[in-house]
Amino acid sequence: MKTKRFVVILVVLIFSTVGLFANIPHDDIPTAVATLKANIGEFLYHGFAESESDTSFEPTLTIEDAFNNVPAFWYGYRTNAAGTYVFRMSVTDFVNQDDLTKVKIKSVTSSEHPSMSYSTEGYELFTETNSIMTESSRSDYTFITITPATVATGTDHTGTHVIAGAETVGGASAGAYVATVTFSVSAT
């Protein structure tokens, strides 16, 4: 009786494991597929560049000896973002750090915009408009020149303020002066 039970159990085990060791036809082996997905997000970089071919931008820049060497620099941006982006620049006068005397800015020029004019909202440099995000990035650059007033002739860069002698490099009080140029990006 025990022998019969042992034979039955043994047969069951043999039959249940047959499938494990049998040959599987090559055509039935499924192909393994790995799906790789990656997302490139939108970006917009802007700032100061070494040249118009430079792809990296610095957010800050310091220029010394502005009264002896007219300050000038490259500004640009690179983006793949969808939407409309307007790039603007605002300029302050040079201010004496001790007595707050001002040296006016005679002119502000942009190489890409020879007819650029002053606005209370700032100088408009670029307008970038794209309906969808693009695979490749778009970029643009301009060379900015900021000229301090050296003599009392005509108006300053706003076109409305007549420069007085005390508002020029030659006539203002002695001391250290600082001016700030700010670049911002907005949707309109």
Partner: protein, 173 residues
């Protein structure tokens, strides 16, 4: 349910787009310039506007051949400067009598007239002047008059008479 999913997706898309703009920092350039102060320079000019330079200012007096006369020579004083802040200075003058080799003396006097409210004269021999800050070019300080006088009773031998005239500048009142 589908509408809810669409709405949520749309909201997420809007937040993403606004994040690109709202978090974008500004780029800033700082321009530094320096105006160096220039020390005060005292300028002396004669009656015809010629600037007299050098440590030894020579003035010639031509005395007329008459019994009684008064001869004057005027000098005009200015300053140029580029100071960070206003300052005060004092010009002090002195003049000696004209003498010849025989030690005959021609009395010589000086008088001062300030040119503006920024200058005052003290003791009849000094100008105290306020030097304004900022760039100043040939701002008037005052006028000095040297006077040599002979009365009818004076007897002065002919010949050459010489004297000295000095200008001393000090900072402060």
């Amino acid at each position: 349910m589908k509408k809810l999913i669409y709405l949520i997706s749309l909201l997420l898309l809007c937040f993403t787009l606004s994040a690109v703009e709202n978090t974008l920092p500004k780029a800033t350039v700082r321009l530094y310039g320096q105006i160096e102060p220039v020390e005060t320079k005292i300028i002396v000019k004669n009656e015809v506007g010629e600037e007299l330079e050098g440590p030894n200012l020579a003035l010639d007096f031509d005395f007329p051949a008459i019994s009684e006369w008064t001869v004057t020579r005027k000098l005009y004083f200015y300053y140029s400067s580029h100071l960070a802040s206003s300052a005060t200075g004092k010009l002090t003058f002195s003049v000696s009598n004209l003498e010849n080799e025989g030690q005959d003396t021609l009395p010589t006097t000086l008088s001062l007239v300030p040119a503006s409210t920024f200058s005052t004269y003290v003791d009849g021999t000094s100008f105290i002047t306020s030097f304004l800050s900022g760039y100043q070019e040939e701002v008037e300080i005052g006028e000095l008059t040297l006077r040599v006088q002979k009365t009818a009773s004076d007897v002065f031998p002919s010949g050459t008479y010489t004297g000295s005239f000095s200008i001393n500048y000090t900072d402060g009142p």
